[in-house]
């Protein structure tokens, strides 16, 4: 899993924890920048390519929001993403692999 994908899934968990649940691309870009302490927002191409790839992998699902809701606010409709159980599992695996393995006992131990 790429670092950006880990960051996206971690942010998605934060969204769930904060009660947001579903998120759109720009909101994600803002949170990613805040989480990483970066100055710049993630580039369009990088962000949406990653989201597309993660959706194909089954880690995220997405759908267009209700057009009426967008029209009421006078803005284009958002594509809303949500993390799946497979996404949770993938993030857990990635975190497990990234964490250092416990030291092995390499000493001679005659039984």
């Amino acid at each position: 899993m790429l670092p950006l994908e880990v960051a996206i899934l971690s942010t998605a968990i934060d969204f769930v924890a904060s009660g947001t649940g579903r998120f759109h691309g720009f909101l994600l870009a803002k949170h990613l920048r805040g989480a990483e302490g970066a100055k710049l927002l993630t580039a369009h191409g990088t962000l949406y390519k990653a989201l597309s790839r993660m959706e194909k992998a089954g880690w995220l699902v997405s759908e267009w929001e209700d057009p009426e809701a967008a029209a009421d606010e006078g803005r284009p409709r958002r594509r809303l993403y949500e993390m799946t159980a497979a996404g949770h599992a993938a993030l857990a695996r990635a975190t497990e692999q990234a964490s250092p393995a416990p030291p092995r006992d390499v000493g001679w131990n005659p039984v």
Binding site: H24, G25, F26, L27, A29, K30, L40, L41, T42, A43, H44, G45, T46, L47, Y48, K49, S52, W64, R75, P76, R77, R78, R79
Partner: protein, 289 residues
């Protein structure tokens, strides 16, 4: 969107450009997503707009291009790719006849050289040795071409190896270069990811269609070599005591750069001419179904 119109225009134009020609559903989704993102950014009071939008667009260009490439490949599907591969590696392409001619010519030259060499007449055997590369190269090219029907990658590698041997004779460098380039593309040797086999000729972007670019490159190379020589001659870097009878290394380097650039220009221009001629006569296009 009244803020940062140029940046927004650049972003929209770029999005329209790289999503052009994609399936409607994918194209519209990406365009609408970017449009929504733009709106959100421009209406977010905490975001610097103009530079921010432009920067996000520019920094993501490589990802956009790669995404488009992957999307096109995925849409085509394995079956269609296989079909395209047959079309592009079949007898209908320009590459096969050129490769056959190269193989036959250098194999014949090699065989004649081996048969009529001077080894048996008290000679040094130099002619026989010199005939070995084209003879082997010719057989590799022809054998590889035949093998490609069953084993595309292996056959293409053999063809390329044969063409490299053919290129040892400067006379064959342009044609051999063409065969090598075509072999790399048609043999799927350009990428490591075999699932992402590139099509040889994208619509409107056939290999022969770019013939003029080779000529432009040749002209630039030649001009660069000429410029190196002019600058060198007038720069005063060459010591006064450097003469033809007593050349200095600085002078040799300048001449070497000039000769190399002109040789490169000749090879590049040769490829352009051959491609242009093929383009003129064949007008070959491979279009996706």
């Amino acid at each position: 969107m009244t803020v940062g119109p140029t940046a927004v225009r650049v972003c929209r134009t770029w999005t329209l450009l790289y999503t052009r020609g994609l399936p409607v559903e994918i194209r519209e989704r990406r365009r609408q997503e970017i449009e929504s993102d733009l709106w959100e950014q421009l209406h977010d009071s905490n975001e610097p707009t103009r530079r921010g939008v432009l920067g996000r667009t520019l920094r993501g260009i490589h990802a956009d291009v790669w995404w488009r490439y992957r999307t096109l490949l995925e849409q085509r599907g394995a079956r269609q790719r296989s079909h395209d591969m047959k079309k592009t590696t079949g007898s209908g392409t320009w590459w096969v006849p050129v490769t056959v001619v190269l193989g036959v010519v250098i194999a014949t030259m090699g065989i004649l050289g081996l048969a009529l060499g001077d080894a048996g007449e008290g000679g040094s055997g130099a002619k026989v040795l010199a005939s070995l590369p084209p003879a082997i190269g010719g057989f590799l090219v022809i054998g590889g071409l035949a093998a490609r029907r069953q084993r595309l990658v292996t056959g293409s590698r053999l063809v390329i190896a044969g063409a490299v041997l053919a290129a040892l004779d400067p006379l064959f460098i342009p044609v051999a270069a063409l065969v090598i380039i075509g072999g790399l593309w048609t043999g799927n040797l350009v990428t490591n990811d075999r699932d992402d086999r590139p099509r040889v000729e994208l619509p409107g972007h056939s290999m022969t269609g770019g013939w003029y670019r080779w000529l432009v490159a040749a002209a630039l190379l030649g001009a660069a070599g000429f410029a190196v020589l002019i600058v060198w001659e007038n720069s005063g870097i060459v010591p006064d005591d450097c003469t033809e009878a007593n050349p200095c290394w600085e002078d040799s380097v300048a001449w070497l750069a000039w000769i190399l650039s002109w040789l490169s220009a000749m090879v590049t221009g040769g490829i352009g001419i051959v491609l242009g001629v093929l383009r003129y006569f064949s007008r070959h296009h491979t279009r996706p179904a």
